[in-house]
Amino acid sequence: MRRYRHAASGILVPLAALAFWQLVSSMGWVNATILPSPMRVLVKWWAYLRPLEVFDPTQGSYLKWCFSGELIQDALGSLYRVLSGFVIGAGLALPLGLAMGYSRVVNGLFNPLIQVLRPIPPIAYIPLSILWFGLGNPPAVFLISIGAFFPVLMNTVTGVQTVDSIYLRVGRNLGASRLTQFTRIILPAATPYIFTGARIGMGTAFIVVIVSEMIAVNNGLGYRILEAREYLWSDKIIAGMFTIGLLGLGIDTLMSRLSSHLLKWHRGLEQG
């Protein structure tokens, strides 16, 4: 009962916003090109989602046809870039972060450079990324990997550095070697931080993918809303934006589900 009431109250503000938007459009207060009505956006959204051609069995399976819509192709393109960039960025950040957290020497070597590079927003790398990688997926993936790299790195370092020393004392007491200490104690103890970093990194990757698609590639959700602007298709811009929002929410939900599943031992997630 309480849950339903909670859900009901959660839908209140979106509904009110929608009603207000519809009111503004129906009353003709704003030019429809500047702000199309919700209904027009929905219609455009459906057109964007739907396959462009009629189903033709000679061209491939029904399933393939179902996924041939522009929106789905764009979403898959964006998702591909996000995942490749994330895997590269996090894949480099994780071992470096573990080494920096574990060893003062490694931390002393890398930290100054990291601290200088970290405040540079990934977007500032756009000119270089095009110079280095040309156009297409490579510069986009490069930018995304930078976006994912730093959150994962910083959280991994903190995670390793803040491992409660009592666990290490237990390990030494039980006779654990340094390797065992690292793999069975430090690494699992740091995972809550590492997952938090991964979640933030994924969020950053998702922001960067949209920007990178506006400059370097000719598909993807970011590209599509910029293209729609050229034709003054504001309904398609808004439909694209909502798609970005929903996809981002989906990824974040997935990440948080995954981490609460893997961290079911963790106290902090009991209520989560």
Partner: protein, 266 residues
């Protein structure tokens, strides 16, 4: 010094630097603990009893003097001196079972032998139903049972216990004290047990060593010759309790004065 001593603490000093001054946490400690003996270290907080225990464990070595275990001076922590911590210190990412088997895996014991040992310990400590649980789902008493099982798994001849029952409620505490005595009688470990509870020391130990507050020295080494199970309401028990209370109150009042003094300086 007797040759039979299992743990032999010889002229141990431990000095810390505090505000540019030397503070003697331990001063000239000499203590012999025999094989199979149950010894409690009793004293007010700050008297250095945990420092002494950590020195025996090898976590923090003495500034001077030596600690001889099984005839050899200790230089580092090791599994022959298993430690049970006040904060349980179970690995939260491991289940009860995994926590208990960790030490055996380090020793590279064969898998069937590990499983047999774990089963035995789960039964011994009444933890069978909690095998797959994570520490966060256990009560304090249950957690401490697991911590004890984890140390028993590696079969250390010496158990070092740092106020292991300090955070438990009175009933759970008594239950675990009884279980510890049962295990001790069965397994014949040498136990060095730190506590600030007079009653706990009298209930458990063969010998209770009272420590002084700063510098940490041994004030009194008292054999408890009462038969077990001990009756905490008996006149003999209470006579000893009164005696120890007086000893401890003297130290406690020095501790309190010290705190007032440092508060005044602040």
């Amino acid at each position: 010094m007797s040759e039979s001593a299992h743990i032999s603490v010889r002229a141990v000093h431990k000095v810390f630097q505090s505000a540019g001054q030397d503070v003697y946490a331990l001063k000239d400690i000499n203590l012999e603990i025999n094989r199979g003996e149950f010894v409690c270290l009793l004293g007010p907080s700050g008297c250095g009893k945990s420092t002494l225990l950590n020195a025996v464990a090898g976590f923090s070595l003495p500034s001077s003097g030596s600690i001889i275990v099984e005839g050899a001076p200790i230089t580092a922590p090791g599994p022959e001196r298993g430690m049970v911590f006040q904060e349980y210190a179970l690995f939260p990412w491991m289940t009860v079972e995994q926590n208990i088997m960790f030490g055996l895996q380090i020793k590279k014991v064969a898998r069937p032998a590990i499983q047999a040992k774990v089963d035995e310990l789960l039964t011994l400590l009444h933890l069978e139903d909690f095998r797959k649980r994570y520490p966060k789902d256990l009560s304090g008493g249950m957690r401490q049972r697991v911590a004890i099982a984890r140390v028993l798994a590696i079969d250390s001849p010496i158990l070092l216990m740092d106020e292991p029952f300090g955070a438990l409620d009175a009933l759970t505490r008594r239950t675990l004290q009884d279980e510890l005595l049962r295990l001790w009688l069965e397994l014949r470990k040498t136990i060095l047990f730190v506590t600030h509870s007079i009653e706990e020391a009298l209930y458990l130990a063969d010998r209770t060593v009272v420590m002084t507050y700063r510098p940490g020295t041994l004030k009194r080494d008292l054999a408890i010759d009462l038969p077990r199970p001990r009756d905490v309401a008996s006149p003999a028990f209470n006579a000893l309790k009164k005696e120890l209370s007086q000893l401890l109150m003297e130290e406690q009042s020095r501790h309190t004065q010290d705190e007032f003094r440092s508060a005044a300086v602040d």
